[in-house]
Symmetry: C2
Subunit: 421 residues, 2 copies
């Protein structure tokens, strides 16, 4: 299969990537979308706004791959050299594209509402040897070139503009141009178990997989995603095959499995809450609203999320959440007693069926000998019982907040399952 | 200068990067750190867990750069081939490193508290031709190789492990090995102005910059960072020079400048609140706690952030924030009247000097003809006045939340300045 597969390379252009001011989120998204249709991303390369570097990358990647996706280097500011370079590389001359020009003018009239500048108008110029990909979300058009049976697609680096072009134009055109294999993925999410323990547990299953079904471990912030990928000629056949192995896999990780779909923990929690028609609220100290943010990042979360109190200061714990003054002074803000009161109180205040309460020390400051940085108490108030757990996290502030949020959401998930299934 | 400069390449290894399940945040961090000391990242390449691909990348990048930093491919699961490959590439044989072994054992005893597996013990094996870089935060050691006066450094892909090794060992060793130039950066943050307008406004200044001082535009979610970078032989000399241009730059963007340091908007707001000894709280509907999360992501934010009410459901707006029932039914949750009441109420409830209130429609659902997706009302209650603004955002749900949060924090910043300076 490997020799026949269609390879893509992603070239990202821009000094901002090489000086580290921009994190490249585009490449991961592009890779996911190409994978779904059976195109393998062989290499990703980032180069600066340097003529020779870009030119060499085009040469080099077109030797490796059939499809070369280029993002970035098309902004209106002066340091952008990508468009003239592409024009020369493919032997064209620059012309104004009327549709792109109309698009620039419309965007300025409708959204930006300021007079256009020369640099903005210049964005409507493209090499005459490309097929223009119109940009519905910004001013820089995309460009599709073909040379020696290789396809080169240049798009802006702005994520939503690039994604729009890929979804509307680029991805739909590719299947007609290549003989693509059938690809089927099955993904599940685990929480509370490390990568090496998972691997140990499922190693016999992994060894038994046929060559055209691959297993990938995808760890991220305290959770590990397991993904099976089957490649073949016949969709029905490989779907049957992969489902057999996916059932075996699910059985072996049942106790640590969050969901048997490619979804996040917050989506999984949302699905459960919606299924049982239950509502949730949160009372957050050290996570500062991050759990509420995760829950509300899901479209439609208003069906099951009522609200939150971020009780960062102790006065808010007392005045809004009615935590007992004596409890705070005797046990401290980071204690079992405090989170139990926070959970019970916010559940009542927000009129929900479930509530999460969190209090801890995320660092770098605030630790004591008795309660060092990373100490966290979490409570979940449920239909019939309220439970609390202490745990420790040991990273930097942001990662501590993330790991704590995952722990809390997983406790909530387990409570919902216990009380409803 | 360019011909003498010390170049680095970053090679990231792992199928997870090419199937798009992991976003590469390591490269940006590495690039920033190298830049500070005058090392230029020339190229970044991501390849899969494929022997030939990795081998070729090592060959290729060592032709381009003096320093080759390799991350990933060192985890305990079976698909990792990086270590045996490096062993063969540099002509070594595998031996157990006693210090790394001791480290693995300690981590298991102290944190993981489960029996060790064979794959974990195997992590202490390294090629005998490398200098071992001990990993204080995980089980996989780093490896430092030298070949034909090029330096190759292999590190785990787990961000906090890689960062620890870079900070403690790798970065401190580099200056002695290369003749590095002096590099000085000056960065400022703007909000509320597009990249092309900024460029138009400062184009004369940009043209007047000498060749060894570069200006970079670094746009991100509604804000643009401007960075001057001076390279030279004498730190004092280029510091003087860059500061002259930085003063000119600040004067030209004064009205849209958030802060004249390399800081985020939430840090800038925190600095102002701390400076004037004022406290803030938030009442968030559509942003679901994201503004509170941004504010509390800053260490020490407990000095100025008291708390938040996430009033996602209207019942919470009524019961916790005392928004008038008539206002909600007559004007709607997304209205000037509602956010004004939310801001005033949360400010009083949380006993703060300032308060932000936000209500809007983030999509994809929930829009109406009168109030389409993207409609947002924001209020800021201050020391003497409470102001409200309506604005529109036009992206996907998550980006809408981010852009709304930025808008709200910038309104708060302007209120603080107006009332205190």
């Amino acid at each position: 299969m490997n020799n026949d597969r269609v390879n893509a390379s992603i070239i990202t252009i821009g000094d901002e990537l090489l000086i580290g001011q921009t994190i490249d989120t585009n490449s991961a998204w592009i890779a996911q979308e190409l994978n779904k249709m059976g195109i393998w991303v062989k290499r990703r390369v980032a180069v600066g706004d340097v003529w020779d570097e870009i030119w060499n990358a085009l040469d080099e990647e077109s030797r490796q791959s059939e499809i070369i996706l280029i993002t970035g280097g098309l902004g209106p500011t002066a340091d952008d050299i990508t468009k003239p370079l592409l024009n020369e590389y493919f032997g064209g001359k620059m012309i104004v594209n009327e549709e792109a020009l109309h698009n620039v003018i419309t965007i300025f009239e409708k959204y930006i509402k300021r007079p256009m500048l020369d640099v903005n108008l210049k964005q409507a110029e493209v090499p005459d040897v490309c097929t223009v990909i119109q940009n519905k979300r910004g001013t820089a058009p995309g460009m599709w070139f073909e040379k020696k049976s290789k396809i080169f697609i240049s798009m802006p680096g702005v994520p939503n503009e690039m994604k729009g072009m890929m979804t509307d134009d680029v991805l739909p055109r590719l299947p007609a141009l290549f003989s693509l294999p059938a690809v089927v993925h099955r993904t599940l999410l685990t929480a509370g178990i490390g990568e090496s323990y998972l691997a140990e547990r499922i190693k016999d299953l992994e060894t038994s997989l046929p060559a055209h079904i691959k297993l990938a471990y995808l760890p991220n912030a305290g959770m590990v995603r397991l993904r099976l990928t089957a490649t073949g000629l016949n969709v029905a056949e490989i779907t049957n095959e992969i489902d057999t192995f996916f059932t075996l896999l699910q059985n072996q990780v049942k106790d640590v499995m969050v969901i048997n779909e490619d979804k996040t923990l917050e989506e999984a929690v949302g699905i459960l809450l919606a299924k049982y028609k239950k509502k949730v609220s949160t009372a957050e100290s050290c996570t500062g609203g991050y759990v509420a943010h995760l829950l509300t990042s899901i479209p439609g979360s208003s069906a099951y999320f009522n609200g939150a109190v971020v009780s960062y200061d102790n006065s808010v714990k007392e005045n809004v959440l009615n935590v007992d003054t004596g409890t705070l002074s005797n046990c401290g803000a980071v204690s079992e007693e405090t989170v139990l009161q926070m959970a019970t109180s916010v559940k009542q205040l927000m009129q929900t069926d479930y509530a999460i309460a969190i209090s801890g020390i995320m660092g770098p400051g605030g630790g004591t000998e008795e309660k060092p940085v990373g100490t966290v108490w979490i409570a979940v108030a449920g239909l019939s019982e309220t439970i609390a757990q202490k745990f420790h996290t040991r990273y930097g502030r942001m990662r501590n907040i993330e790991v704590t949020a995952i722990h809390a959401l997983n406790m909530l998930r387990q409570s919902i399952l216990k009380e409803n299934e």
